[in-house]
Structures are given as structure tokens and as C-alpha cells.
Symmetry: C2
Subunit: 460 residues, 2 copies
């Protein structure tokens, strides 16, 4: 079995396991108590905070432990927004943030706040100039992930942080995906992370609020963790999280280089081995261990199921909606194909031979699913001479509308059009993205009697 | 060493430890994923939910795991209040709830809500009739703990639940202290608990929302735990929590009877061994393992410090403010002495011999602190003949104003008065409580040039 979904959750690092088990006996008491067991718990907590702060690159009193990365984001955003409510209620996020950021943004909007979503390019990164242009006089908070969780693209955090600093706006960086690999560069104001992404246990997030950043916790609070994370401290887990972060950082340079070579191999080989594949995400400015590609004419769920049968655990689409397999907001924002999407995120220590086996298995898996769905044969351009063809894909779902389109394009002359009638919302993402990958012209869409009519012009 | 503060946090139960370590290898993956590791994690989570629901006495789909008992209370209260905001914004709590409930009530009030705090009697329990009388047409939610965390008094939950049900108002029961001992009786609507109170690990709370109860999660949410507890599930901890709850329940009847005998011994013997002691909390309707008493003329911190040196870990005053040693809101609401307060809460398996050693050590500890502070000799009534005496305790803090009062009472005739000038806020609690324990009449208080003047009439 090969687990290639570390971007969802990493297995517990051996060092974390050791630290967790060791501190079960010494870290269960209330660190606010003055008796021996409480003082012992306090010592463990303080040491863990110092180690984590050292790895993040902040002062220990700027870092609190939360119960998850999601909670760190929720509390960090609401606290920073409330702390600056006199300035205004405008929030900036990128279009490809983790769902915890977007959910907080939606809650802010529902409460009467204003939200600007900064778009990304086809590689998945924001343009620093475009991000800076979104800053307003009433901007209370700006958010930008350090690296994307679905496609691995690194964001220009340092440049955006500088623009925010110049405008006097705090920048919150969701560093969940990048923190195992190194501290976040640049002059950010708040930072969040999640221990189970770096081999720590579940149940530990971290929230850093730089000194001088206005912060007002919302709702009920208590005296724990500087009033920023209510509830009894989970000290054994916190100790394990800090130990794991230190351990993975010690391996980060060497292991990062090794995994980058493996993911580079996947990036290069998959398009050679599997026809009609789009590798997505920035080829250079990216996390070392993560690669994502989309296979035309298949559905992600079937591919995942077959890969699972072959012993590979990978993920598809949005990391937070793969169970429902709705189209990923990240891929949609990038304008790339979402059908047949596969994310491979290698754990530290991933076996070279398993990656090779993955490359051996993948072509047969995709071919099998395509055969079942009746996908078009790759490269079959066709010499049709019709001016216009309409195909009815109403009532079918991803990837059928694109399969119908690909089957019809060969029936029109170069310059002719195919109109696809479809009511599956994924078609709105995948038909334009297909045109881009296949070098045809996407003319546009319009409401039809039922569903939507998507018009494509054959270019070659 | 004897750890007698299980009401703060219990050491990890051996069964919990085993379950935790065993599930570290199988419970780290995302239970929303469809691959093998995800399915395995989901199975563990489902089994833990069934076990916990069985122990609570609810349906598995009514129970979600939260990151702490505090979080369960915060989310439970805000969700229930929001779910019924069309009915009104009135909230009822008892005066002796845990700080997590009172903090939520304060946040609700700050947001424009109305809060009624139902008082308690000197035993610490609410009167069911008085509670029912607080119900209004616009009451959105009522809260009542199952048993008090500081004095062990059990609340009349079933009667209050019936009154709430009749009024159509949901009752939320904070069952953190009682859940190890059995399910909560009565027709409650919401219930919360905290695993580290029953020998489970930190980082796990539970929130039960009965079917049919209107509930609207507030703020940012995600798809985990039915949308009621955002953030990645901490499955190894949840498995351990459920296993521990099942294990302690198996021991609850026998161990409850044994610990009740031990705490009964403390209740009976402490007033025999230590002069000027008030045992507080209901003598019958109480948790089996918890006993609280207050020693006049000493400060809690010194007593705790000396007991710690003697190898006993106990707590004082409010469980949530002992680090600051501010007066407990519970003892204040009960109108009992808060100075020299000691809470003993025995863990399951507590050693009879250690309890005996505690009873051996305690008198010397209290005597030592009293000697240092110059406390009056017990029983020294004195045959003074003054009509009125004023003592100046300005600038001194607990227990000095009461020591001054006790020293002066013998200098006035029966029927004469002592006026104490004090600016320590604890005096407002402790001087009336002292009068009650010493059978003198508390006449009242009035603002003085500096601080407050407390007037006491000698009755015997």
C-alpha cells in the first residue's frame, strides 16, 4: 500500500508518537494549577511553545496552540477582523484559499462585511500587483495561503506582505501546507498551521499573532492560551506536534530535494504515459512533494477507486469536498480541467519504487475508466465537414458532456462549431478548460431551453 | 504523592491509554476520504460515536465530538440560541455554572441578549420552582449543570428539564462533572461533556443535540461532525475518550460507593480535626468523589502550597480561577466562606490510606498558616463590654479582615457591634459568611471614606 495523500493528513511521525506517548504521563494535568502535576504540565507546554515558535520564526508569546488548523484560521480571521473593525469591514482573500478561509469569509459577508476575492492565473498564483490593487482604505484584513493545498503552487507571500505592510493592513498567511518545509518568508502579521499536516497528531493547530497586531477574540473566551484558544490545553498532543515539526524541519532540505525529483518525474512522465492529461499548478514555484494532474474523459471517483484497488491512496478535486466530488473551487479559479483530477502528495520517506509502480499502474487505470465511459480515442481529429453540430448531453454528468464534445469536434470542419447542451454545472468549468488544452476556441455559453448551451469552434 | 484534583483533570485511564496508542496507527487519516486509510479512520470514528452515545443515552447521530468540553458548551449555547432567535433572545443560567457557560452568557449579553441568573441556596442547588419561574415567552435557551464542579452538589435536572419541556424551552445540561458516574436523568435537550474529566485524553468534548431541537451553528463551519464542530477529527483521542467512558462506567457503581464513603469520612472528620471549618455543598445530593471545605482565617494559596509540599494536589476556589485565586463565583453565590477553601476530588482508585494521611496532615497545615497570620484562637469568645468597636483592615487582603473581625468580636458585649473597614472585595463574601458560621448577626455594609464598612452584631 502506498499512501500518497499527505496534503490531507500525514501519518504520525515516529518522533511525534514517542513524544506523545511519553507526555501522556506528565502532561494530563491543568497547567494553570500550582501543584506538582500542574507545574510539570506547564513546563511541557512552555517548552513546546518555544520549539514551535522557533520553527515558525516568531516569539513564543506570539504563538498559541489551537485545537486544529481550521480553528486557528477561524479564530485568527475573526479576531483580526474584530480588532480592526474601526478601520472598516473589508476582507481580501485569494480565490484559491483553503475552505476554512473561504468559510470564514462567507461568515464575514453574512454578517455584513465586504469581501474581495483576488483571482489567480492558470498556474494557481495570485498576481502581487492585482492583490495590492485590492487593498482599500477600509480593508481590515488580507489573507493569502503560503502554498496551495490542491495544486502545490507557492504564492508570492513576501511581495503581498510588503504591499499590505505599506498599506497598514495585516496579512494572515495560512501556512498549513508549507510549514513542514520551512518558515514563511516576508513581513506577515498573522500565521496559521495544522500539526497533522506535518506528521504531528490531529487536534493541534497554531495561531501566530505578531506583536502590535490589533486582535480582539470574538464570542466566549477563557483565560487559556492568552485568551485566544478557549478550552483545556491538549498538552501531550502539543508536545508531539512541536517535536514533529522540529523533526521534519531537520529532514526538510534533503527530503525536499528528493521528493521534488519524484514529483518532477510524475509531472514529466504522466503526460507521456497517459494521453489527454493536463498537469496543473506552477511547474517551478511549487511545494516539493505535491503534483496534480487532470485526465480528460474520466471521472475522479472512478480513477480514485481503481487506484485504491491497486494500493494507492490519492485524492481528487478540492481537498475538502472530495467525499462529495463536487468541482474544486481551486481548479475552477485556475480555469483548468477538473474532471479526472488526481492529486499526489508524497509523505516524507516516500518510496521511489512505489512512485514507479504508480506510473506503471496509472495508464491502465485511466484507460479502463475511459473504455467504460466510451471516451474518444486520443488524437482522433477527424475530417468532418459540417458547419455546425449540436450535441445533447442534458441529464449526463461529468465527464460525459466533455466526452460528447470531443466526439463531435471531428465532425465539423476547421472553423465550424460544436454546441453542447448540458445541465451539469461542472461543464461550465471543464468545457472551456478542455478547449484550452485541446487548442480549440471557446466561443461562449448561453442559457438554453434546458440547461446551458456551450459553443466551441474547431481551430485545427 | 496523592493527586486529589480529578475535578480539574483526571490522569489518563489505562484503557484510554491503550486505545489511544492502538489507534494512532489506524486513525490518523481523513475519515471523509474514500481510500483504505480513510475508511479505516471512519470505522473507528463511527464506533467511538456509538459507544459514547450509548453511555450518554442518545442516538449516535445526535452526538458530535468537539475539541473540548468548553468548545462543546460554547458551540452548544450559541447554536441553540441562534436556532431559536425568532422566539427571543432570553437565556437562563444558574449562578453556579462552569465558567464556559457564564462566558457564553456574557458574550450573549454583549451581543444584546438578555440573561437571567437563577440563584442557588446555601447548599449550592437551584430551587426548581425558582428556575421554572425564570422561564419567559422569549426564552430561547436554559442551562443547568448536572452537578457543581466546585462543591459537588447535584442539581435537580430532571425537574428543571420537565419545567423547560412544558414551556417549550430547550435545556442544555453541562454534564462535565457527572458523566463518569452515569447518564443524566430527565428530558433534557442538549448535553455537553469533557473527556479529560473522566480519564479520557484532553482535546475531546462531546455535544449532544436531541433530534427536533432547533440548532443553527454560528460563524464559519465546515462539513465535519454534522457541521457542528469544525476542524479535522482527532480520531485516536476520540476512540480513547469513548473507551475510557465505557471503562469508568463499568466501575462507577462500586467505585462510587467506595469514594462516597471516603468523602463522607472527610466531611465528618475535618470539622472534628480542624477548628473553624465550614464544609460546603449538599451533604446528600452530591457527587460521590468530591468534597469541599473552607478554613477560616487562612488563605487558600498558603494551604495549597503546604499541602503540595506534603504531597497532596488539591484545588481551591473556583476551578477556573485558582491560578489567580480570586474569589470563587460559586462560593459567593452560595453565600459560604471562600477563604481557606479546599476542594478534594478523588480519582477512581484513590487510596484509602492516602485519604487517612491527608486527614493526618491537614490540621498541622492549617494551624501553621493560622499561626503565621495571627489568627484568633478557636472558641475564644471573650468577655468584652464595649458597645461598639471599629477595626481598620484597609489595605489588607483575605483572610486578614475576617481575622481582625474575629479578634474584635470578643471585645464587645453581646448585642454590641463590630465595624470592619476593608477594601478587599473578598470581605463582601467572607464577612457575611463568617457571621453565618459563627452565629453572629450580619447587620449590613455601607460605603466608607475608604473602602467599605461592614457591621456585625455579637449574638452570643
Amino acid at each position: 500500500m502506498a499512501y500518497f495523500d499527505v496534503a490531507s493528513s500525514a501519518p504520525l511521525h515516529p518522533v511525534a508518537r514517542q513524544a506523545l506517548v511519553a507526555s501522556l504521563d506528565e502532561g494530563w494535568a491543568d497547567p494553570a494549577r500550582l501543584y506538582r502535576e500542574g507545574r510539570q504540565a506547564r513546563l511541557l507546554l512552555d517548552a513546546a511553545r518555544e520549539a514551535a515558535a522557533d520553527a515558525v520564526g516568531c516569539r513564543p508569546d506570539e504563538l498559541v496552540f489551537t485545537s486544529s488548523g481550521t480553528r486557528a484560521v477561524h479564530s485568527g480571521m475573526t479576531g483580526a477582523l474584530a480588532g480592526r473593525r474601526r478601520v472598516g469591514n473589508h476582507l481580501i482573500v485569494s480565490a484559491v484559499e483553503h475552505s476554512s478561509v473561504l468559510h470564514s469569509a462567507a461568515a464575514h459577508e453574512a454578517d455584513g462585511g465586504a469581501v474581495t476575492e483576488v483571482p489567480v492565473g492558470r498556474g494557481g498564483a495570485v498576481d502581487p500587483g492585482a492583490y495590492a490593487a485590492a487593498l482599500r482604505a477600509d480593508t481590515a484584513l488580507a489573507c493569502l495561503q503560503s502554498a496551495n493545498h490542491e495544486v502545490g503552487t507557492e504564492q508570492p507571500v513576501a511581495e503581498v506582505a510588503a504591499a499590505c505592510r505599506a498599506a497598514g493592513v495585516p496579512l494572515l498567511v495560512d501556512a498549513a501546507q508549507s510549514l513542514p518545509w520551512g518558515p514563511v518568508e516576508g513581513d506577515w502579521s498573522l500565521l496559521t498551521g495544522s500539526a497533522h499536516k506535518w506528521g504531528g497528531p490531529a487536534g493541534v493547530g497554531l495561531l501566530v499573532v505578531r506583536k502590535g497586531v490589533r486582535f480582539a477574540p470574538r464570542g466566549a473566551v477563557d483565560e487559556r492560551e492568552s485568551g485566544r484558544a478557549a478550552g483545556f490545553e491538549n498538552i501531550p498532543a502539543v508536545v508531539a506536534a512541536a517535536a514533529a515539526l522540529r523533526a521534519v524541519r531537520a529532514e526538510a532540505v534533503a527530503e525536499g530535494a528528493r521528493l521534488r525529483e519524484l514529483t518532477e518525474r510524475i509531472r514529466a512522465r504522466v503526460p507521456e504515459l497517459v494521453p489527454d492529461v493536463q498537469v496543473v499548478g506552477d511547474p517551478v514555484q511549487r511545494l516539493p512533494h505535491l503534483v496534480t494532474f487532470s485526465c480528460l474523459y474520466v471521472d475522479g471517483e472512478s480513477v480514485l477507486h481503481e487506484l485504491d484497488r491497486a494500493g494507492f491512496s490519492v485524492s481528487s478535486g478540492s481537498s475538502c469536498t472530495s467525499s462529495t466530488l463536487t468541482p474544486s473551487h481551486v481548479l475552477r479559479a485556475m480555469g483548468v480541467v477538473s474532471e479526472g483530477n488526481v492529486r499526489v502528495s508524497l509523505p516524507m520517506g516516500a518510496d521511489d519504487a512505489e512512485v514507479e509502480r504508480f506510473l506503471d499502474v496509472l495508464p491502465g487505470v485511466v484507460r479502463g475508466v475511459r473504455d467504460t465511459l466510451g471516451a474518444p480515442v486520443a488524437g482522433g481529429g477527424g475530417g468532418g465537414d459540417a458547419d455546425a453540430v449540436t450535441v445533447d448531453a442534458l441529464g449526463t454528468s461529468c465527464p460525459q458532456p466533455v466526452i460528447e464534445l470531443a466526439g463531435a469536434i471531428g465532425r465539423v470542419r476547421v472553423g465550424g462549431t460544436v454546441t453542447v447542451l448540458a445541465d451539469d454545472e461542472v461543464a461550465a468549468v471543464d468545457i472551456p478548460a478542455w478547449c484550452w488544452t485541446q487548442h480549440h476556441e471557446y466561443v461562449g455559453e448561453r442559457p438554453a431551453d434546458h440547461g446551458t448551451a456551450y459553443v466551441v469552434r474547431r481551430s485545427s
